[in-house]
């Protein structure tokens, strides 16, 4: 009974903090622009393929496979965690055991996966600490980013240690005939210890350690780059479904041009339905779509995007990962102030220029390698082009070479200074044999 009350108090505290975090995020999302979604069937299929099937992580096959094992392991172990919550709430033991054979399969694989994840995490930690992985460095990878990674990895390591400890001492302390579920790894470990009811306090210890770590981890994640654990699957579900080559249309401009092209509407009196003037493109966090912000929260800074970026490879400042990290950082900085002081609040800083430099924005070739590479379908190029839209249409601040092509396209319909009258010169004296 005491255990039950203690558990309920812990759970309520966890859910309380978590709700506060979600509410705070909800307020930040409300500041952003719309991004329509639909086509849920297709999205569901994409989620199964890319998130559950981990297809894009396999673009780096070796380390990708290790990640996939950790992910699939998490899914199985999650069922065990749900059971622990039910057990804790109602003061019972192994509440899902009625599943019979399925229970045995789930818990046997959970037990094996705990060991696999444990080994994988040790591998990840070692790799991060001792191997010089290029994509783990870069100007955006501060001491804090690395610390964030080490903390998350350590917690996962402890989660697995406590899970194996819990299972082992369960097998040790319970009468063999009464054991519910199968625990291949833990049964082996139990064999090294012996058995007897006197070990049940160790079981209790690891049980609490495991569940409290889960509660702590759940509340820490939203403030860490490992928010990824919660958001990556939904982020894939909410992916852009268009081909990578497509850019979103700016309907406000279409309206403007159509009225210019049609003399009747061009000089007509305003109908009163004209939308209030909006800012073209993205300058600061309130100009991004909620999906851009979702992308930035889902990013776990793996750096696959940056490692394939042609600009970054050749030493330019642009790093697609940094674009996502800067957006998240800037929303944290400005968002709460906008919530508090209203949408006219300004701190005389902006995402573009103060976080992401103009130099970075112009270095992009829009080759889409970053978006192609991202294991959770984050889309960087559209956001980069949105910032270009701001620079060009609000500030007329394109690099000189681009201003010339704009002028040429306007005047003679080609990026180069050739007359449209010469468009057929290439057909002169064209012969075919035969």
């Amino acid at each position: 009974m005491t255990k039950q009350i203690l558990f309920i108090v812990c759970l309520i505290a966890t859910l309380g903090v978590f709700s506060f975090t979600i509410f705070r995020l909800y307020q930040l999302f409300k500041l952003t622009k719309k991004f329509p979604i639909g086509n849920y069937g297709k999205r569901f299929g994409l989620m199964l393929e890319v998130a559950i099937g981990q297809t894009k992580i396999f673009r780096k096959p070796v380390i990708g496979f290790v990640h996939a094992l950790v992910f699939w392991g998490f899914l199985v172990i999650l069922i065990g965690s749900i059971e622990m919550i039910v057990d804790g709430l109602f003061g019972i033991e192994k509440s899902l055991a009625f599943l019979g054979m399925a229970y045995n399969i789930i818990f046997a694989s959970g037990d094996v996966f705990a060991l696999i994840i444990l080994i994988a995490i040790i591998l990840f930690l070692g790799r991060r600490a001792f191997l010089n992985i290029k994509r783990f460095s870069g100007i955006e990878m501060t001491h804090k980013s690395h610390l964030d990674a080490y903390i998350a990895l350590t917690i996962i390591l402890l989660l697995m240690v406590s899970l194996l400890g819990m299972n082992t001492f369960y097998v040790v302390s319970v009468n063999q005939a009464e054991i519910k579920g199968l625990y291949p790894v833990s049964t082996y470990l139990a064999g090294l210890i012996g058995n007897g009811e006197q070990y049940s306090c160790y079981y209790e210890f690891f049980w609490w350690m495991h569940i409290l770590l889960i509660f702590f981890f759940a509340n820490m994640l939203p403030y860490s780059k490992h928010f990824h654990v919660f958001l990556s699957v939904p982020n894939v579900f909410l992916s852009r479904l268009d081909p990578l080559g497509k850019l979103p249309n700016m309907d406000s401009i279409t309206q403007e041009i159509k009225s210019m092209m049609n003399p009747e509407t061009a000089f007509a009196a305003p109908t009163g339905e004209v939308a209030p003037p909006e800012r073209f493109g993205v300058k600061d966090v309130e100009d991004v779509t909620w999906k851009n912000y979702f992308d930035s929260l889902s990013c776990t800074q793996c750096g696959r995007c940056t490692s394939v970026c042609p600009a970054n490879i050749t030493g330019k400042k642009l790093s697609p990962r940094k674009v996502m990290m800067d957006l998240r950082y800037r929303m944290n900085e400005k968002g709460p102030q906008l919530v508090k002081n209203g949408k006219d609040y300004t701190d005389n800083k902006s995402l573009l220029k103060d976080c992401i430099s103009v130099e970075e924005i112009w270095a992009c070739t829009t080759c889409n390698a970053c978006a192609q590479e991202c294991p959770i379908n984050i889309n960087h190029p559209t956001l980069i082009v949105e910032m270009r839209r701001y620079l060009v249409m609000e500030e007329s601040a394109a690099p000189g070479g681009l201003n010339s092509i704009f002028t040429n396209i306007e005047n003679n319909g080609a990026p180069w200074q050739f007359s449209a009258q010469d468009r057929l010169l290439w057909t002169n004296e064209l012969y075919i044999k035969g």
Binding site: K246, P310, A363, T365, A371, I409, E429
Partner: protein, 265 residues
């Protein structure tokens, strides 16, 4: 000239006036019309169209930039002006199918114009050629490239942007020659460095030019021919070969040129 026939490229306004409705609009693109090197590609592809008696016409002086470089550089206003003008022209000529040689033109017609009301069947010339290979109409038995090693550089706007990796390869595979892939190919391919308006501006400061990085990768394969299928890629790779002083041994040719040469057109 002996055994040669002059090609009179059909122009839409004239063809249309005669009451004919060509099956394809052949969109030449600014590079095909104005870039001296890429004019050769436009000519090569025109020969192929003529060889297969394709029903097509070009817009000629009525063609104008698709707006792609403006759009990727952030000038949405200019892009939409160009796009709406083009859509109007297409409407006048009842255009249903568009053949492009430039993947950037291909992409913008296919993916971006529909939002402005322009819906067409858009075909990249490599896809057009792929169909001819598949149907058995395009057979290249010529031995011209027999002892040549060809590597193909994927253009981003055909590859990643539109997931078309097979069409150019199927066409190249129909040409008797050795094919070799670069280390980064298909969806992993490295950009030539010209997209997103980069073609028309100075690169930002860095340690290397992107086109040099990519050309080096192509050279590493030991190929004698670097095949491209995009005017921007061609400018970049050709420059890269000059920079590496390899332009005498390694040739940068467009797939349309390889096919036209194989067919001895």
């Amino acid at each position: 000239m002996e055994n040669t026939k002059k090609i009179d490229v059909p122009v839409m306004a004239e063809v249309f006036a005669k009451g004919e409705r060509p099956e394809y609009l052949f969109w030449v693109g600014c590079a095909g019309a104005f870039d001296d090197r890429y004019k050769k590609v436009a000519r090569a592809f025109t020969k192929i169209l003529t060889h297969f008696s394709t029903s097509y016409a070009v817009l000629g002086t009525e063609e104008t930039c698709t707006g792609d470089p403006a759009r990727r550089a952030g000038n949405e206003m200019l892009y939409q002006m160009q796009a709406l003008t083009n859509i109007e022209t297409f409407k006048n000529y009842e255009v249903k199918k568009i053949l492009t040689i430039c993947p950037h033109c291909f992409n913008i017609f296919k993916n971006d114009y529909p939002d402005l009301g322009g819906n067409y069947e858009v075909i990249h010339y490599t896809q057009f050629l792929q169909d001819l290979v598949k149907s058995g109409k395009l057979k290249m038995d010529s031995k011209v490239f027999n002892d040549k090693k060809i590597t193909f550089h994927d253009p981003c706007y055909l590859g990643r942007a539109n997931s078309e990796y097979d069409a150019p390869r199927d066409v190249l595979n129909a040409i008797p020659s050795t094919k070799v892939e670069m280390h980064r190919n298909k969806s992993f391919a490295l950009c030539c460095g010209a997209g997103g308006g980069q073609m028309f501006k100075e690169a930002e400061p860095g340690t290397k030019e992107i086109f040099i990085e990519r050309t080096e990768e192509a050279i590493e394969t030991g190929a004698n021919i670097i095949a491209t299928s995009c005017p921007f890629c061609m400018t970049m790779v050709t420059d890269g070969l000059k920079y590496k002083n390899k332009e005498e041994e390694i040739f940068n040719l467009d797939i349309a040129e390889l096919v036209a040469t194989s067919l001895d057109l």
